[in-house]
């Protein structure tokens, strides 16, 4: 209706007069004054704004906001659970590490015990072998000494024999009648001397 009035009066009247008359659109469809202030259109804006706000409010409060809140809460829950699970796993990992360390320490002390044991065994064997060897050496030495003594005694007898024989032969060679007993006694006393 504003347009019709504008068309009826348009062209002649000044825009200010038209605006004061409550006309918002001129005969060419252009705006007169601020379209925002046109009283004819206010009711329409307010009605459709009310409809829009009511729709948005119901869509938000019934569907969108509870859903987003639920998603966010669920995500928060998931994150909390995951962090708790991670804490559990961390505790488990440190327990496993402690167990590993303990096993390592045990193994090390076992190994040391075995080493010490082995060393002791070896020492004992060695000592036994040494003692045996010493005894054998001692026996051999005694045997050797005995053999040397025998040889030495044998050699002395042989020297006596040779000396008696030689003395007898020398006496005979010099023309003397050598009585074997006398020669022998002489030689024996000489050798003792």
């Amino acid at each position: 209706m504003a347009t019709e009035t504008a068309a009826a009066t348009g062209g002649q009247a000044s825009p200010i007069a038209l605006e004061e008359a409550g006309i918002c659109v001129d005969s060419h469809g252009g705006a007169i004054g601020l379209p925002q202030l046109c009283p004819d259109w206010m009711g329409n804006q307010i009605f459709w704004l009310a409809v829009t706000l009511v729709i948005i409010f119901f869509v938000l409060s019934r569907i969108a906001l509870p859903r987003i809140a639920a998603v966010l809460a669920e995500r928060q829950g998931t994150i909390t659970n995951d962090i708790a699970a991670a804490e559990d796993l961390k505790v488990k990992a440190s327990e496993a590490e402690a167990a590993y360390d303990k096993a390592l320490a045990d193994a090390r002390s076992d190994a040391q015990a075995i080493v010490a044991q082995t060393k002791a065994d070896i020492k004992a064997d060695l000592d036994a072998a040494m003692a045996k060897a010493d005894a054998e050496i001692a026996a051999k030495t005694a045997e050797g000494e005995k053999a040397i003594a025998e040889i030495r005694a044998g050699a002395l007898d042989a020297v006596k024999e040779v000396a008696k024989d030689t003395a007898r032969e020398i006496v005979a060679a010099m023309g003397g009648q050598a009585d074997a007993k006398t020669v022998n006694a002489a030689v024996t006393s000489q050798m003792k001397g």
């Binding site: 252009g30 329409n44 459709w48 829009t52 948005i56 569907i63 969108a64 906001l65 998603v71 966010l72």
Partner: protein, 262 residues
């Protein structure tokens, strides 16, 4: 007179400036007048605003996935942004009013952005629309204040921190500023939206200069196109900032109603 000049200019092929025509409300069907229930361009663009809101917040969050899609993270961002604003500015006891404030924010921000589409109608550039929003906030906040605190709500105007002789003067100023709130609240938003869109139209009207005069047009046309791009970028910023300002002021007013003592 001016109309004649305009008409003559259109016929002679001069520059045509109609920066305010984009704010005219027209019926979508037929040529009749605009009654209260007429389906107009404002109906269409408010419906688009509603659909955009639904697309973002309802369809965007429809997968309810723990690891959000892009749409869902924007929806969650908007939700978290306004919820945190309500909580930080107005306090935890304002959270029951969060859906109302979210409604206002989503309407204003979507209307602002939808209005930036070329050829669109910006419903928030109409003072009638923003005044209703601001009065809605003003009356709700005042009613909440009186319901929660009774006459104690009036302590909002009685600044006990000030020296006693000054208090009546300050009370007068506070009362005036309280009643000016809906005016500034609504004109700030409508004025910003209207000004930006009108400026864009003015720059756009300079663009055909090259058709009229090649010499001047070689300078003016590229400059006006550049200016439109720059203003458009600014308007994208303004579209969000004004929605933010409108919402945070709503929160501030709500805070005054919930905690009137200074």
């Amino acid at each position: 007179m001016a109309t004649d000049v305009n008409g003559a200019a259109e016929q002679s092929g001069g520059l045509v400036f109609h920066p305010m025509d984009q704010f005219i409300i027209k019926p979508l069907f037929g040529d009749g007048g605009v009654g209260i229930f007429t389906v107009t361009n404002i109906t269409l663009w408010m419906a688009i605003t509603v659909l955009a809101t639904i697309a973002l917040l309802v369809l965007g969050s429809s997968s309810r996935s723990t690891i959000p899609t892009r749409m869902q993270s924007i929806a969650e961002l908007a939700y978290g942004f306004i919820r945190k604003m309500v909580e930080d500015v107005a306090g935890r006891d304002a959270l029951p009013y969060f859906p109302y404030i979210m409604t206002i924010f989503m309407f204003v921000v979507m209307a602002n952005f939808v209005g930036l589409l070329p050829g669109a109608f910006t419903s928030t550039s109409h003072i009638g629309v923003t005044a209703v929003l601001a009065l809605l906030v003003f009356f709700s906040v005042t009613i909440i204040g009186f319901v929660k605190h009774g006459a104690g709500f009036l302590s909002l105007f009685w600044i006990s921190a000030a020296p006693l002789p000054l208090r009546p003067i300050l009370a007068l100023i506070e009362v005036i500023s309280y009643f000016v709130r809906p005016v500034s609240h609504s004109i700030r938003l409508a004025g910003n939206m209207m000004a930006g869109h009108a400026v864009m139209k003015v720059f756009a009207a300079f663009a055909p200069m090259i058709i009229i005069s090649t010499g001047i047009g070689l300078v003016v046309t590229p400059l006006s196109i550049l200016a439109i791009a720059a203003i458009y970028a600014l308007e994208v910023l303004v579209a969000f900032i004004q929605a933010y300002v409108f919402t945070i002021l709503t929160c501030v007013y709500l805070k005054d109603a919930l905690h009137p003592a200074h």
